[in-house]
Amino acid sequence: MAELGGKGTTASVEGSVGPGGVPVIAVGGEIDISNVESVRAIIDGLLDGHSGHAVFTVDALTFMDSSGIALFVQIHNRLGSIELRDPTDIVRRVIDITGLTDTFGVIP
């Protein structure tokens, strides 16, 4: 698992492979402007060479602002389809407000 960030905003990223070879990436902690590029680099590495659907389990993502939205929009643009599983209430709220609930698959 990659731990990203210093004493302030920290995130964790861990990749695995789900049924059918679909990448499953667990993202936890917090995402803001201070660590989003590090998170992006790790995720890009995990998805290297992959195209198509990817699953992000975000039940341990306790905070993200629009920096996190930008991250997932860019990943969605690249892959064409992503799924965010089990978002925390605040992450769900940010996705709802920014109008991306239908663009991302948000489950549940």
């Binding site: 302030g8 402007i33 201070s34 629009s66 605040i90 709220r93 709802d96 407000i97 920014t98």
Partner: protein
């Protein structure tokens, strides 16, 4: 009570500003703390991206409201944009628009820089207003899937309700899309599934 703090113009300050406001509002509800911290995160990020300089966060807490101002030396007035789904940027102010009761900008007092401020009315938290489950439902499930999960009491928040009402009032396109159909869908759900949002004692 008014408190303020100055933060150096680096990205780590955004998280520090969130922690500053969370500490300052520690006696208030979790919904207000979460909303205020999220909005400060957005405004601090804007200050860094557009002004690339130090910024100051001032918090004024009264019995009625929480007002927060983020001041930086940058020029230009932040404005709401309506980005395409594929545009990664331009959504931060929508978060402020939806989670606050009022927000705005003003020029710096010494003629340079600017402030972006927002206010959360403490009286509009849903525990006191007892808003209907319709408002909650229409906001709670923009995707139309799993409504029973999203209206669970522990999944709702004061802010979700507050911005559902704001969205209705403002005709927010994101919230308006398909809202009526969804409301009708909710009406057809078993009562147990839709009535959780009601607080009969408040009505």
């Amino acid at each position: 009570m008014t408190v303020s703090a100055r933060f150096v113009g680096r990205s780590a300050s955004v998280g520090e500003a969130r922690r500053f406001i969370a500490d300052a509002l520690a006696d208030l509800t979790g919904e207000i703390i979460d909303a205020a911290a999220l909005m400060v995160s957005e405004l601090a990020t804007n200050a860094l991206v557009h002004a690339a300089a130090d910024f100051e966060v001032t918090i004024d807490i009264t019995e009625r409201s929480v007002s927060v101002e983020v001041t930086d030396a940058g020029k230009g007035v932040p404005t709401l944009r309506w980005p395409e789904d594929s545009d990664p940027h331009g959504r931060g102010l929508h978060i402020v628009e939806e989670l606050s009761d009022r927000w705005g900008t003003r020029a710096g007092s010494d003629g340079s820089g600017k402030s972006v401020w927002f206010t959360i009315d403490r009286s509009t938290t849903p525990d006191r207003t007892g808003r209907t489950s319709r408002a909650r439902s229409s906001q709670a499930d923009p995707s139309g899937s799993r409504p029973w999960r999203l209206v669970r009491r522990d999944q709702r928040s004061a802010c979700r309700t507050a911005f559902a009402d704001r969205g209705r009032r403002l005709g927010h396109p994101v919230l308006r899309t398909g809202g009526l159909a969804r409301l009708q869908g909710f009406e057809r759900q078993p009562r147990e599934a839709v009535s959780i949002g009601h607080r009969p004692a408040d009505q």
